[in-house]
Symmetry: C2
Subunit: 404 residues, 2 copies
DNA sequence: CCATATAGTTCAGATTGAAAACTAAATCCC
DNA sequence: GGGATTTAGTTTTCAATCTGAACTATATGG
């Protein structure tokens, strides 16, 4: 869709403006509610007022930034024109999960302007059937955008599995029983200038947490779904590794003599802390995920020993994996999401204890938190990736928008 | 010393030239022996011939690049002027280790032009005493540089411990019994325009491997010294983590019920695969490192069961840690250095087996290798950091050189 | 010796930010 | 109420630096 600048591309004179457009736009995005003036942007970025004026003019003309009336900062002097990200440009976040589909309309500033979701037993369903249902939801989002006067720039689609972003292929999504499925995400938002970006669910949730949640620059996001996934955020960027598969927390080895795992290995975290493992250890075998989760929570509330032990064990082994991860990557904050967030209060004691036992003093307990975004985190992250790409490369967006 | 460009600095017109100077210089460095002409550089970088001519003129004037006579590429037409990194600019790499000190003079192209080392039982010695001995070696390197007509740009000093690069402080080097020692690395090479950069031994070894060894862009370097250290190289850059302490492979947890470790944790890799742990498990208690290593190697040669088991166990647990690391960071190649390189042939079977058991198919066995640089890897890496900083920011070097 | 091919230089033109002067719009204070 | 002051934003001039095209330099081939 948009070609990223090659790292070895020659510097041209025009690159300076590309960079400064992004710098100013990002500055406006970061300042958020306080709606900076051109003069404040100049002070904040180190650019001259003249340069900022010229850059802002381009951004306003493109529709990415809007002026929002006068704004008084100090007591004297001419008041500035407040600037903010346009609320008339949006991105559609979409999520396919095991038992539901959801969409959300997110504006440039990150506000969730519309959302909808439906239950859908997707496991084992053909990708085409799932995509057809999702297309219905996407149409709702487009209608909502029309109603609110929001122009849709693009979309993000998160799926619980390994994906090839470039080619729109789901390499493997074991929980959906999908294997090497070629989707057509573009069809969901026909005509959107930036298209639809396919992404991994855990990674999107991690990015949602980064941009619209806790907001730390460095943390490890742990997503306990059917599998145990993770997203590594370093320096406010997702670390995906040389092959794009980093963050596979679920298959870190937490016991050298542990049981065999579905991945072919042995002693993986997932065999101790995956949803299935916890349900099984707690003696809860029947029903949908939702039903079993409710049974488990009730059992924990009642203090049922098997349930408590199951969650304690999961927490302890999760602690082993996180201790190793913290040592290796020097990660100093951890955010729990998905199933782990739901189990938070029961999981934490064993987890914190295990971390302290294996990596004493390495991680401040107050940096071990539960995600507050719940299900919308993935949606926000999926949409956010497109929004960030615009903020980081506004020039490229202008081109894409002009061509369309 | 030289201030790195802030990530949020505004782009200025002059930045374009900074970047292109680096692009051209790096291009010359990469092309290596084949001594490219200006026209070839233009084709390779995407810059115009005019721009390359102008950039090369600056680089030649600064003494970083030299013309090396005519060079014929095709059959017809005017031959080009071959260009290469100057062999008259060098950096001194220095290393403090537990039982020796060493220095090396490395020219811009990465050739080791001179090296020397002395045995020195540094454990427990005062930093001042060690630095005084090292200064003697450094003086030899300077004399060698004078004799060869090499001008010294700066130096790199690697120590086996955690360091604060900026302030020249060794935060902790347990194997030397050093704790928060303020060194004065600058004194070793008084007057060198880029000063002396302090660095961690394992990290330097990893970088040495990157620039002058295997040359993969992504790998995990495992250094088995007294402790077990590591260096994570991703996208041809060292990953140091948000706090600068990434790569602490030795304290990854490889057994949830393992013995206590000196770090206060339990079940750490180091308690199974550290030098001391191996010596102890093999029943070798007395003597210097060198002597004990020789004893161990002889015992392995003889097939002594205790020694074989000690090394097998170390390999197996190392495999557990590396399997986890590979999952988490998606690392696809591993290079063994230090003690592990010495034990290579005895360690490999158990290590490879363990990796395959815990992360089957994840890592191609041919990507599990032993470093070929031996001891000079650390030296080359320490010097290389300064050399790379010049190649990546030639403009800043020009300024620094001009001020001196 | 001249056609041709390739290397490298020179020069006009375009883009862009810095610096400084200027205009615009508010408050302060008498 | 009106000038002084303060702050916001624009205009103008200038310098840096790349591109592109024309030009010069130097080789081979017939």
């Amino acid at each position: 869709m948009n070609e990223p600048a090659a790292p070895n591309a020659p510097g041209r004179v025009g690159d300076v403006r590309r960079r400064n457009l992004s710098l100013v736009l990002d500055s406006i995005a970061r300042t958020g509610d306080s709606k900076p003036s051109r003069a404040q942007l100049a002070a904040g970025t180190g650019l001259t007022k003249a340069a900022v004026s010229s850059l802002v003019a381009d951004l306003v003309e493109s529709g990415l930034v809007a002026e929002v009336g006068l704004y008084r900062d100090g007591e004297r002097g001419r008041p500035g024109q407040g600037l903010e990200l346009s609320s008339r440009r949006g991105v559609v976040g979409m999520e396919i999960n095991v038992d539901y589909l959801s969409v959300g309309l997110v504006d440039l500033a990150g506000n969730l302007r519309f959302s909808a979701s439906i239950e859908s037993r997707n496991r084992g369903l053909a990708p085409d059937a799932v995509m057809a249902r999702l297309a219905g939801l996407a149409a709702e989002a487009r209608a909502a955008a029309d109603a609110e006067g929001i122009s849709i720039m693009g979309g993000g689609l998160a799926v619980p599995g390994l994906v090839d972003e470039q080619r729109g292929i789901v390499l493997s999504a074991p929980n959906l029983h999908w294997q090497y499925e070629r989707l057509d995400p573009q069809a969901l938002l026909d005509g959107a200038p930036l298209g639809v970006r396919l992404s991994n669910e855990a990674n999107s949730a991690a990015l949602g947490e980064l941009w619209y949640g806790g907001g730390r620059p460095d943390f490890l996001y742990v997503s306990g779904e059917v599998g145990v996934g993770g997203g590594v955020v370093i320096g406010s960027e997702l670390y995906t590794g040389p092959g794009g598969n980093a963050g596979e927390l679920g298959h870190m080895v937490v016991h050298p003599d542990g049981p065999p795992c579905s991945c072919g290995g042995a002693g993986c975290l997932e065999t101790f802390a995956g949803q299935e493992a916890i349900f099984q250890a707690a003696g809860i075998a029947e029903g949908s995920f939702k039903e079993r989760t409710e049974l488990l929570l009730r059992a924990l509330d009642d203090g049922t020993p098997a349930a408590s032990k199951a969650v304690d064990d999961a927490g302890r082994y999760l602690g082993v994996a996180l201790a190793s991860a913290a040592r290796l990557m020097d990660v100093q904050a951890i955010v729990l999401g998905g199933h782990f967030a739901v189990l938070g209060q029961w999981l934490m004691p064993a987890l914190a204890g295990s971390l302290e036992r294996h990596a004493p003093g390495l991680l401040d307990p107050k940096n071990l938190t539960v995600s507050g975004l719940e299900h919308s985190g993935t949606l926000l992250g999926a949409a956010g990736q497109v929004i960030r790409s615009v903020i980081e490369s506004p020039f490229e967006f202008l081109l894409a928008a002009k061509l369309a």
